[in-house]
Amino acid sequence: MKVYKISREGLDKWIKHWTESYDVFGPVEKNENGMTDWAEVKGLDEISTAPGTTKQPIKTFYLPQPETLFTFTSRGGEPDSDVLKETLDEGRPRVLFGVRPCDARSVTLNGLAYEEDPYYMANVERTLLVGVSCREQCGTCFCRWVGGSPFGTEGLDILLIETEQNFVAEALTDRGVSLVEAGGGAREASGEDLAMVESMRQEAEQAMSAMPDTAETLRSKDLMSMYNADFWGGLSESCINCGACTFLCPTCYCFDIQDEVVRKKGRRIRYWDSCMFPLFTQHASGHNPRGQKVQRVRNRFMHKLKYFPDRFGPVSCVGCGRCIRECPVNIDIREVLRDLLGVE
């Protein structure tokens, strides 16, 4: 890791230099309600400095809605008809600027499930993440409950930390170092800078409520006793069974595959699907393994908090709080976590 110091103006120059070889995206204020969302930017002044996360997670860059897997020409008798052609996206590389540590972590977590998926991995390959640490936590933030940190670096190429006058830039990967070099104008950080960043890190982490060892504790719990816990019924009674939580969740990654043909042009796409929808599991015969709402609500949480950790280690949640913020009926994953862990 290399640590640099860069001024605000310097950062603006970085972005301008990067746009020569990359598409640069950042959180911008898009709508009236104070929420930010991802959009292409040309300079630092377009980027929102609001605390907290964007409306949509960055999974839209990794699991585009929809993503074309193959194209084909549909039944016309031509020799090439109906032959699937691979369309691995070889578009321009891009930089996501101003990614929160929680969102960056989601790329790594989803990557555990998508290890063998060439489309996801191609998107990982061509997307560089410049993170910014969180000085302020929102009421819905709980990254420290699920193994993250407001200064977390997992998944990032660069982490920016705003200090009194400047930014400290931790270049965490080779890609990050080359980004800094391409940006130009950065000085190496001094020992004093490093010490200051370290104390900011500690302060930010201590300011948040933490739940250590969540993943370990959940892994050690008995699957069926969690599955049969008595709170699922009450929880699902409030739920309207929409997909707002899953679609806005950075670590909900389920998809469906379908062919679309318009005139003779066909494509096989994958698009977001949600385990909250009854049709997600319904067989052609009509039989449905999760036909009841309570089963679907439970599956969403159990997948994140038990099935995923049992298989891959960490919890499939980064504590960004979007599901809490956006749930129309205020279903709060922190309450589920508390219930499952048996803590107050």
Partner: protein
């Protein structure tokens, strides 16, 4: 270029091009047809290797994909067999296709029966109902081709009517053999039928051999499996000896898309074959 070529080969969503070599209408209602598919490219044929009990995605551009159990044994070298029930968009389209048409095959997927490990040296009981006999046909043929690796082989197979039995010619051939014990049954007395009459669970209770050094492979509708267990348990069979194949809805086939999870397991990747003991530890989401 070499790099992208490599990725192309590794794309797990890319089906192998195949051609329909033969179509056999299996059942009197015409709803089940067996398609014999030949992979188009010699290298695909060369590289293809599956285990009985595995499945593949059949792909029709413009319609989509559907998971179908592989009905042919790896020991058969004349293409791949898929017995397809006409139920949805893809299977409906497949049923209207003719010999020579192009389809895609993506697989093999899933785990399959442990024919070369746990099942070796065991007495085998194959229990099937309706059109769930497909991957068990593959298994039976594999075992007959490697006959010395297995002990006694008993097959209990039932359908509603004689006309709903799959692979009827082969059933007759197997019945003539002395190294496999066949019990083919239909639900109700029918004119011209001289074989067994009765539901699979009843017949299983009557003819199932001792559980000693034996395993049972059961495929069929959930209700058949449910009622087949008690008579087996009565004569000492345990859940560890019974293998089942689950049929959850699948899309990616490689354990990512999330559709087929049954609690912590992905049926497409960790299954579809599980011992009943394993299934009993899972939430009932199948």
């Amino acid at each position: 270029m070499a790099e992208s070529k490599k990725e192309q080969i590794n794309n797990p969503y890319m089906p192998f091009p195949a051609r329909i070599e033969d179509i056999i209408v299996e059942t009197e209602d015409g709803n089940l047809k067996t398609f014999r598919l030949m992979l188009e490219r010699p290298e695909d044929r060369e590289n293809w290797s599956h285990v009985p009990g595995q499945f593949a995605m059949l792909s029709l551009a413009g319609r989509g994909e559907i998971p179908i159990g592989i009905a042919s044994s790896p020991t058969e070298k004349d293409g791949l067999l898929f017995t397809v029930n006409k139920a949805g968009v893809v299977t409906g389209a497949l049923h209207s296709m003719e010999v020579g048409a192009s389809v895609g095959v993506r697989g093999p997927l899933g785990n399959g029966f442990p024919v070369d490990s746990e099942l070796k040296g065991k007495n085998i009981v194959i229990i099937a109902g309706g059109f769930a006999f497909t991957t068990l046909r593959a298994t039976l043929l594999y075992m007959l081709a490697n006959r010395r690796d297995y002990g006694r082989i008993t097959v209990i197979y039932g359908a509603r009517t004689p006309g709903m039995l799959l692979y009827r010619k082969e059933l007759e051939e197997w019945q003539k053999r002395d190294d496999v014990e066949m019990h083919v049954t239909i639900d109700r007395e029918t004119q011209g039928w001289t074989g067994l009459v009765g539901f699979v669970p009843t017949v299983a209770g009557q003819v199932a051999p001792s559980p000693e050094n034996a395993v049972a492979l059961i495929c069929g509708p959930p209700v058949m499996i449910k009622f087949t267990m008690p008579p087996l348990e009565k004569i000492g069979w345990t859940d560890e000896q019974v293998y089942l194949s689950l049929e959850n809805r699948m899309k990616c086939g490689i354990g990512i898309c999330g559709h087929c999870n049954c609690g912590p397991v992905y049926v497409c990747k960790d299954g579809p074959v599980f011992t009943r003991a394993e299934v009993m530890k899972l939430p009932v989401e199948f």
